[in-house]
């Protein structure tokens, strides 16, 4: 069988970085070909070249054996290549049909043929079992469905090769499973898929072949039958990585955080946290598991002072902090790694140095009266950059210019570099690569061993199981069970997260 797509010696140089260094690979018809690599390995650059967004400095692309040159996405689309970007390229205020037809609109006379497009979308969604409603407004759809719209958009343009860039990064585990079902369906129908990810489990479960990239180069091509997670991780990172978190037994002390009967409303004014009680002891990690959107965000916002609860109480080290300001809570010795690092964790346009003192800039030695002490801020930054291994050109680089993993390290450095009693970590490793995950997990365990109480919120069950000493499961604003980590299995937690009562869940296993 001849490859449907082949690239030879693609090279792309950016100022100061060789993003792609003589990359070659081939894609067979009906194949799922995974590209595995850490952030910054050059996967996305390569895909942008394939989609005509960048032009390569060297090398060639062949579609069905014929050399092609893509000057813009239109050329790639014309050659049957479709791409689903990590950040969706959908217009929120448009309907599904409008989004799908944009750029290749069909018209009757001058008028957009909305009905015709809707009909074609229904046909496509039926044919590929991708359920989308052409008349729905995109902004009202859940992320998983928006992704389906992106896939239909590519199919509408007769894509035979589909590039999925980090497609599971923003999905819940259920949505991810659904995506894999769709990918298998597409494969059956003869669509070839390039699947970009840094999640090892996903690669092993869905890919036919795996190409691993590191530092702009292809380090090897393998297949899921002959490789293991550990081997792939080693290829990807370039050194042995422990995927298992090493931690000793916990030595819990007295209660640091006590939450009683907490009720919190979400931004729409609906009850999101409905009567939650929990406590976290010094020297233990309490993991809060649950599907995204079951009140975890609001719970964390109430504990960190970002959102005042409706009723109930929160005590930190015996102080009532139910309605305290974030600054008061921070000063009592609480650290917070927020869920959305770019929105709540950093001021992206500020330099790394300023971001590192966001929670203490007003104290000595960083401020004297009204004036900031620039030198102290930078000296502090240089120290923390070294301590926490933040890869940044300098302390004065804007935080927004760093990779996701390094942005997260800046936050971790800020929150952990002072003495704290409580650490609230929400999705601390979302979207990060294996190396960074390993690092952040180690830091969290280290604080626990030093006697910090850790409240860990994560939708990744593996993370919860690896780190937690006790596990609380949240479902529809309530904590349905709190169990010791030794008693928890993935299946049991999965059932609780889906709303099963604890006794029923236990019977099912």
């Amino acid at each position: 069988m001849d490859p449907i797509l082949e690239i030879r010696n693609i090279t792309k140089q950016f100022p100061g970085v060789l993003a792609n260094d003589h990359i070659s690979f081939s894609l067979m018809p009906g194949e799922v070909h995974a590209f595995l690599g850490e952030n910054g390995a050059g996967k996305t650059t390569l895909m942008n070249i394939l989609y005509g967004l960048y032009q390569p400095d060297e090398g060639e692309i062949l579609v069905h054996g014929n050399p092609v040159r893509f000057n813009s996405p239109s050329d790639a689309i014309a050659s049957g290549i479709g791409m689903v970007h990590q950040h969706f390229m959908l217009i929120p205020v448009f309907t599904v049909a409008e989004n799908i037809m944009l750029g290749s609109e069909s018209t009757k006379g001058l008028v957009l043929d909305r009905a015709g497009v809707a009909k074609r979308v229904r046909e496509l969604s039926h044919h590929y079992s991708l359920d989308v409603d052409p008349e729905a407004l995109v902004e009202q759809l859940p992320v998983g469905v928006q992704q389906r719209v992106e896939i239909v958009k590519a199919l509408y343009r007769h894509a035979k090769i589909l590039i999925l860039d980090e497609p599971t990064a923003s999905l819940t585990p259920q949505e991810a499973q659904d995506l894999f079902r769709i990918m298998r369906e597409l494969k059956e129908q003869g669509v070839s898929i390039i699947f970009i990810t840094h999640k090892l489990k996903e690669v092993l479960s869905i890919a036919d072949r795996i190409t691993v990239m590191r530092g702009g180069k292809v380090v090897g091509t393998t297949d899921p039958q002959t490789s293991t997670e550990t081997e792939l991780a080693t290829m990807m990172v370039g050194r042995a990585v422990s995927l298992e978190v090493e931690k000793g037994p916990a030595h819990p002390q007295g209660n640091v955080l006590e939450v009683q009967d907490l009720q919190v409303k979400d931004i729409r004014g609906l009850i999101a946290v409905n009567g939650v009680s929990l406590e976290v002891k010094a020297g233990e990690i309490l993991g809060v598991a649950g599907v995204q959107g079951n009140g975890q965000t609001e719970l964390v916002e109430a504990i960190t002072g970002l959102h005042s609860p409706v009723s109930g109480s929160i005590h930190l080290m015996g102080h009532d902090i139910t309605h305290s300001s974030p600054r008061a809570i921070t000063e009592l010795g609480s650290g917070h790694i927020p869920e959305d690092r770019q929105r709540d964790g950093l001021v992206l346009s500020f330099p790394v140095a300023d971001n590192l003192v966001l929670n203490m800039y007003y104290n000595k030695p960083f401020a004297r009266g009204m004036s900031m002490q620039e030198k102290e801020v930078i000296a502090h930054a240089d120290q923390e950059i070294k301590n926490f291994d933040v890869r940044t050109p300098s302390a004065l680089t804007p935080a927004g210019k760093l990779s996701g993993g390094n942005q997260q390290k800046v936050i971790v450095a800020r929150e952990l570099s002072r003495p704290i009693h409580l650490l609230v970590a929400s999705q601390p490793t979302r979207g990060l690569d294996v190396g960074s995950i390993e690092y952040i997990h180690k830091q969290i365990i280290r604080r626990r061993d030093e006697g910090v109480a850790v409240l860990l919120v994560s939708t990744e069950l593996d993370e919860i199981l690896q780190l937690s000493d006790r596990i609380a499961v949240m479902y529809r604003g309530k904590i349905v069970a709190i169990i010791p980590a030794e008693e928890a299995t993935k299946e049991y937690l999965g059932l609780l997260m889906a709303g099963a009562a604890p006794d029923q869940a236990r019977q099912k296993i």
């Binding site: 967004l53 996405p73 205020v93």
Partner: protein
Amino acid sequence: MDLRRFLFIAAIIVALFAVVVAVGAGHETPLVIIVSMLATTLAVATPLTLGALSGVFCERSGVVNIGIEGMMLTAAFFGWFASVYASTILKMDTMPSLLVGVFFAILTGALMGLLHAVLSITFKVDQVIGGTVINILAIGITGFLNRQLFFEKNGLFGGQFPHAPGVLPAIHVPFLADIPVIGRVFQQQPITIAAILLVFISHFVLFHTRFGLRTRAVGEHPRAADTVGINVNRMRYINVLIGGCLSGLGGAYFTLQSVPSFEPMMTNGRGFVALAAMIFGNWTPIGSWAAALVFGAAQALQINLQFFRNFIPPQWAFLQQSYVVGMVPYILTMIILTGLIGRTIAPAADGVPYEK
């Protein structure tokens, strides 16, 4: 635009009309007063309507345009100048001279639009600053040339102030204008009629054509448009040029339809009120027009109250002060922009230059 907003607009217009009806009650029948108010409202809302449409095209494609005021002022001057030149120097007849004037007003608007496009799209200058530059430039150019061309001894017209060709005559809309009493509403001058037609044409173009879909796409999420092969900057250029032409026609209103003369700074903030109308109209042509009519009605109140100056009852004496009534449009602008009647949502990429 939601129903609540339209009801609010209707309520204000009714209230403004009611004031004039109440004051003039002893002198004219309410129907005559209402018809007169309606006719004036439509006419004086013309530059606001065209200015707002200009803003709609620019901002729907993602380019903030606060230079509408300057674009209209420049177009008013050059349209006026072209018509005077055609009639005085080229000895053309009245109607052709006026049409030459309208053509040059639109052309001037287009050139100002091109300037704004080059500044904000090609050179990515901050769009508010670009618009401000246009407003200042307009005051300078028109003031200077007005002096040089019309008032200097050895100027183009030989020191003699030239005779203007007059204003565009009203068009008698067939059938509608023949209805007794109400017919007066449909006796309108051509730029007013064009503006009303353009409201509906713009609505059709923006929401029912390929061009409109692409325009809105580049104003909401330019990168998404780029990934499906739409040339973002070209779409923005075209829309800003369309906006310039609409502002140009709006400028023609001042010197070729309203009065046959040019005064420095005669647009008098109407470009900014047009922007307010566009925002209150939620960046839609029909909504903007409705909002422009509110401001038009406020101005019509002022004009119509002049007729009944002597009938104003003593307890309402403050209405005799023209500056009290003259404040109404601006007070309305402030109330409307506070978001009291619900927030409006600008196109997501409005004012953000596109970087690949």
